[in-house]
């Protein structure tokens, strides 16, 4: 039986990567699978994909999807800088950065903030497990107060919430999800890729080895018990027709800049994803209820991405040659005469 091909004629396997070397049951592997599904269904051109990462368990994962694409596993906490440089050098690339809570909320916090501030066009996924897995289980900066480490010590420091932080910085796309919820994560990833600007997804992704025990607030069971979905998320790409009918007042429809649509069907309380302040309030209220709020928190399709703001041409900068880049002989002589 021949494999089903996507709209650019590729089988799902074309979106797979090397075999994972992470622990069996690691949330990151589920995220990898969801990424494969999302990219396959979107029909992403593998050669246009640039997979970027820093250091840590999360940052290994770009090796595990879309083998055909270029990938760059850089240095700890510095994925945003590499991503910014890569994206402005070639605007045609689809840049997907994978980071972790240590990589982005501690050593790389500064770069994370400034990438968002510039609205660099990329998908930025934080595989958030509240712990340093690769160095064997120290707390990370997203660990909640009172969260218990495997060996029993209790975190007493305030957590940094990537979503709240991104919202205050005016990030143009902010979502939270769970590695075990492909139904929610796959459409969010698709929307993040379709979004032009920084799309930040904080994906709670349990560490089975160091942070999946009782007392952890990043364990499978805790997330399952406390997950509060804002909406039922569906994504209709620009190349598919929309034929949904929903009762007025139940669903937010967001048109993305490429013509794709996000449909957000209200599950709990009313939330307008263009209301930044409302998103922050929602996060804070959920925290007070001891709930993990997931879904699309905020989206702003009108904000200019960095390359557009910098007035960069559509043709990749790296394709420009001597003719485009050197000052003409006449202008050069003029410059020299101005120095006399």
């Amino acid at each position: 039986m021949s494999a089903t091909l996507n709209r650019i004629g590729l089988p799902r396997d074309a979106y797979k990567g090397a075999a994972t070397t992470l622990c069996a049951g690691c949330g990151h592997n589920s995220i990898t699978n969801h990424l494969v599904k999302a990219m396959y269904e979107l029909g992403i051109e593998p050669n246009l994909l640039a997979k970027m990462s820093g250091i840590g368990c999360s940052s290994k994962t770009p090796a595990y999807f879309v083998d055909q694409a270029h990938g760059f596993n850089g240095v700890h906490g510095r994925m945003p800088a590499l991503t910014t440089g890569a994206q402005i050098a070639n605007r045609k690339l689809i840049v997907v950065g994978i980071s972790g809570d240590g990589d982005s909320m501690s050593i790389g916090l500064g770069q994370f903030l400034h990438l968002i501030r510039r609205n660099v066009d990329c998908t930025y996924i934080i595989e958030d497990n509240g712990t340093y897995g690769l160095t064997k289980g120290q707390f990370s900066a997203t660990a909640d107060v009172g969260s218990v480490q495997k060996r029993g010590s209790v975190n007493t420091y305030q957590p940094i919430d990537p979503c709240a932080l991104a919202l205050t910085l005016g990030c143009s796309f902010v979502a939270r999800s769970f590695s075990g919820d492909g139904k929610q994560l796959v459409p969010l990833v698709k929307a993040a890729i379709a979004h032009r600007g920084t799309a930040m997804l904080d994906v709670i992704s349990p560490c089975v080895t160091f942070n999946d025990h009782d007392g952890s607030t990043k364990s499978y069971s805790w997330v399952k018990d406390h997950d509060e979905q804002i909406q039922d998320v569906s994504f209709i790409p620009y190349f598919e027709e929309i034929h949904v009918d929903y009762e007025p007042g139940t669903t937010f429809e967001v048109e993305m800049h490429d013509g794709s649509h996000l449909l957000l069907k209200k599950l709990g309380q009313e939330h307008d994803p263009s209301d930044r302040l409302g998103s922050l309030r929602l996060i804070e209220e959920a925290r007070e209820r001891n709930h993990l709020l997931t879904g699309l928190l905020y989206v702003n399709e009108a904000m200019e991405d960095f390359a557009t703001h910098e007035r960069l041409p559509e043709v990749p900068l790296r394709d420009l040659g001597e003719e485009d880049l050197r000052v003409s002989q006449r202008d050069f002589e003029q410059l020299m005469s101005e120095l006399a």
Binding site: P62, G71, L312, R326
Partner: protein
Amino acid sequence: MTPGSLVNDLTFQAATVNGSGSQSANLVLTRAIFSMGIPVAPKNVFPSNIEGLPTWYQLRICPRGYQARTGDPDVLVALNPQTWTSDLQNVKAGGAVIHEEAYSTAGVRDDVSYFPVPFSKLAKTRIQNDALRKQLTNMIYVGVVAGLLQIPFDAIEHGIKRTFQSKPKAWQSNVDAATVGYEYWREHFEDRKIKHVLQPMTGVTDGLVLIEGNQAAALGCVMGGCTVAAWYPITPSSSLCENLIAYADRFRVDSKTGERKIAIVQAEDELAAVGMAIGAGWTGARAMTSTSGPGISLMAEFSGLAYYAEVPVVIFDIQRIGPSTGLPTRTSQADLGFVYTLSHGDTKHLVLLPGTVEECFEFAQQAFDLADRFQTPVFVLSDLDLGMNLWMTKPFQYPEAPFDRGKVLTASDLERLEGEWGRYRDVDGDAVTYRTLPGTQHPAAGYFTRGSGHDADARYTESADAYARNMDRLARKFETARRAMPEPILSRSREGSPVGVIAYGTTHHAVVEARDALDERGLAVDYLRVRALPLPASTSSFVEDHERVYVVEQNRDGQMYDQLRLQLPAELAGRLRSIRHYDGQPIPAEAITRPLLELEAVPV
């Protein structure tokens, strides 16, 4: 002209308060004198401060056109009460001192001529422009100096127009202020002659232009095809990227669409700056960053990544005095050793060592070619003296050669190879491997770049063999690159000498002058100017050809001396001597002649 006066041979110094606008006045004088065909060598000694601290501008004028710094001034303009006493002490005997009338000269020195001028009073009564009074006060001394040194007033007018090239509205008010000073000189000092005089001349500066090294390097980046520049402000490097922005605004913007053919990003710190440049270099753009010592320290980690993962990037280091914050506005050559092996592990970098503004322009372009050719960071080690002072130079040559983009496989190359390639396979035997750029439309184009262990096909590995093999190849690649670096420039004395001098960077200008002075004392020396690391084989032959070789540099520890000793066999290393200057002021010739005469036992 009074008999016995010194023509076109003096050191002028203006002692002012920074933030007062004296820089423009000093540039006007420099431009005016240069327009008379007289060689100029300005050195700006400024504080790390915005306003209110002492600053000095030293302008060396000498008929031979030496560009190194000299010591004490012959002519002083003193406008800073804080430093007045010490400034006065430094003037050479027989010198001229133009000073604010209010400063006391009683009983201090009687071996200099005083020219008291009521600058504040003149500014209040004669300058009508309230907003610019402070700045224009400095132009008054330009007028007085013009009178005293016999600079034709039309040369001053030229200097004003040239300095305020982009602000024609400022011309008249500046001319008026200079006229106030000129008239004051005529009324009070016209019949008082001094030892020094300037006269128009020809032959030395014909066809030359004036430019700062950072501006020259920025132009080199434009001509070298730089399309991504990421930087973080730091003295003395900032003016490189600021000049690049100015050139980009003028030459890289499409007049119809407004599109910019370059991205210049002010990053959040030097970590991000070099990271962006590396990200862009990986994608195939010609990318650079520019910084100084503290920024270089922050770039250490990323430099190791670019070396090991083999990503092209150009890094300018406009050196200032360290360690730590050091003296941010003083010059140095003390980053050499650190930069050469920047990052942990076995790391080695290609380092270009421009000694002139022309080389700032040339090497900036060459750096991009070398980075692409060898897929590695290329450092350009300039310094504050070169980067931030004006230097005389021949106009630059328009580059004819196309960019060397190195070994990049395109989709059609991959088609031809039937997709059979490996990112780190040494197929040509020169240890330089092929790369593809992200976005290349071929199923075999992609590969995974990483700073962790990798094999010849860029796959992750912790294999001992694969690691060692890769490191050996990187070492061989370095040897390939060694042969492509700019050769040293050899300058022999007329009859050859058993004594040699090795120098690099701005130390060059002091060596040029010192060699003439030594020659006059009967000690001719040969000279090798090194222009890059790694050192080429010809460096060893130079040492072989000489009994004693003095390595002159501007750092405390003799960092180039160390590099030479590492490279040379023991019997040759023993021939090396180290001469070092490291007070943050550009090295004067005297700092070379004095120790050399002493060590060579030439009777003084």
